[in-house]
Point group: C2
């Protein structure tokens, strides 16, 4: 063996090892591939045109060879929260939270005990509370959502979320989230989309649980927002106080306006369930290339609720899915998700 | 050889291959490590306590064994823009942009030609323009930044950025960005931090170039923001019009308020250069664990500018670095970056 032949032999040996490793990796990957395909990322969605529309949208926007390809950094999808990601009936959970805070507010300000609407709330008369006019509701929201530091609010909301349970399923509100929508969030993220919540609900309230519950961090929660005021405590430490000054009413036209303010990009896909989401879905669908606008129709009284004139069902104060909205969806190519038809499971706790 | 021995032998051979590959990888990585260390990510920063403070902060917040460890998802660093990431003298570039738009505004509304402050701007008398009072400046900003669609504004701003040049270096404004701050942005991002701009300047204006110039996407630009109004064009296509309605004055206390609104997390590090950044730096530094607040002092008249009473230099309308701010930095452990002492290069176009 010559001096020159030695290294060649070594190179040859390493080349063989490299080839064997490459073959082993190829076999391992080939074997794993069918298993992954069988592992449907949207397994709670029944096969059909609704599910297919989602799969097609993601396929065309993530395929570099497609004219609809969207670079990963620009992939944005927005989700309404109440009635789209979780249950909004019979009352928005944030309103339930605010009502639960009234006794503490009155304890701190006893003079409110005989003042409406606090008097009615303290009476415990649920029927009377349910019919409080909008102006009274705003008084309750203002008294319970503002005037404290951001950290005090977060702690109070967290405490309530940890203990409160809904009246129908007797579960924490954060469990009343829709399993198919969880799958959808994961599926979009796995395909490089940023998933935002764009809610008419309070931005600070939703941020308390969105990361833990949906995997959506605070900076990706857009919601109705009041201003804060910067100040210092007695030790000179700065803090922010929540103020009764509305910056953004993130409903209706406020949704695209909030999206521009907070995200600065037009979403490629949006999901909603009511007239409050109309402009967000219009704005999304009006963009260039492939765009997906979807509305969730609550037509499953057995597993969840059924409401909205679109199904000839009674209208309600919350989550109004009107006939006009349904007609606009049809005319503009938005896709209506039927909870009853399109979802084989609704909640993770129920088969 | 028994039937049972066969697989054992195979396992043994694959084990040997795996071990060899592991050793080869270890050698390759060990060889590469010193090369990477020599490739200083902050090479425009001179060695010394300022640079060391940055390196120490990143080391302690990214080391899982450190009590100051911050999970990647929570790592946020905020940067002021004018005077911190790029030149702000002799006039904010956005103001230069607005002044450049006045002829077009007057063309569309000829009645403004004889109305102040438009008359003065059209006269071309730079000295007179430079002394326009705040109220007149607001009239110019309102006339040139609002009343058009978001897309029209973006196109006009982009066109100006592509063609306008500053009077001193005769370069596009987007080249007047500080090389050491570019390195810092990259360094933070390489260590898992989200890098936000938090500017007193217009959010929509900065978003036009922040992604291209700094690698900071629109959703990570927080700035002074006016409202938008949702509407439809003649074909029924929705669009947003920029309105003269201030939502967020992202200066002074407005910076932590804007950070809460748009990010919802307290930054772990913040960089500024003037009194308008004071509250942001206070808010950052008041958080738990390791926090870094830094101020850039413009003390290099030769390579850039020198201004601010902190160096006994004349005060100016923009970027005021007062003695009080300097004293607060000293008392609160903020670090003052001296452009002259700490940066061996200022711009990428100048050695």
């Amino acid at each position: 063996m010559t001096h020159r032949a030695m290294p060649q032999t070594r190179v040859g040996r390493f080349g063989l090892i490299a080839a064997l490793v490459a073959i082993a990796l190829f076999i391992a990957c080939s074997a794993a591939a069918p298993a992954r395909a069988a592992d449907d990322p949207l397994s709670s969605w029944n096969d059909g045109p609704t599910k297919q529309a989602i799969l097609d949208f993601v396929a065309t926007t993530t395929d570099e060879a497609s004219p609809n390809f969207v670079p990963p950094a620009e992939r944005v999808v927005t989700f309404d929260q109440d009635g789209t990601l979780w249950v909004e009936k019979p009352m928005y959970s944030q309103v339930v939270y605010c009502l639960s805070r009234v006794p503490d507010v009155v304890k701190a300000k006893p003079e409110l005990a005989d003042v409406e609407p606090f008097k009615t709330v303290l009476s415990g008369d649920r029927a009377a509370v349910a019919t409080l006019p909008q102006a009274d509701l705003i008084k309750i929201l203002t008294a319970t959502l503002t005037g404290m530091s951001v950290e005090e609010f977060q702690a109070a909301a967290q405490k309530w979320l940890d203990s409160a349970k809904d009246a129908r399923w007797h579960r924490p509100y954060t469990e009343l989230t829709y399993l198919p929508m969880h799958e959808l969030l994961e599926y979009f993220r796995a395909n490089g989309f940023q998933t935002y919540i764009v809610t008419g609900g309070g931005q600070d309230f939703v941020r308390v649980y969105a990361d833990r519950v949906y995997g959506i961090p605070p900076e990706q929660v857009v919601g109705s927002a009041a201003g804060t005021k910067y100040g210092y405590d007695k030790q000179g430490k700065p803090f922010l106080t929540k103020e009764p000054r509305l910056l953004l009413n993130d409903n209706d036209a406020g949704k695209p306006e909030g999206i521009h303010l907070m995200i600065g990009r037009r979403p490629h896909a949006s999901f909603g369930n009511s007239t409050g989401d109309r402009q967000m879905l219009e704005y999304t669908k009006a963009g260039d290339g492939a765009r997906l606008s979807m509305l969730l129709l609550h037509d499953d009284a057995e597993r969840e609720y059924a409401y909205g004139p679109a199904q000839g069902l009674p209208d309600s104060k919350v989550g109004t899915f009107t006939q006009a909205l349904y007609d606009e969806a049809q005319s503009k190519g938005w896709i209506v998700i039927s909870m009853k038809r399109d979802w084989n499971r609704v909640f993770s706790f129920a088969e």
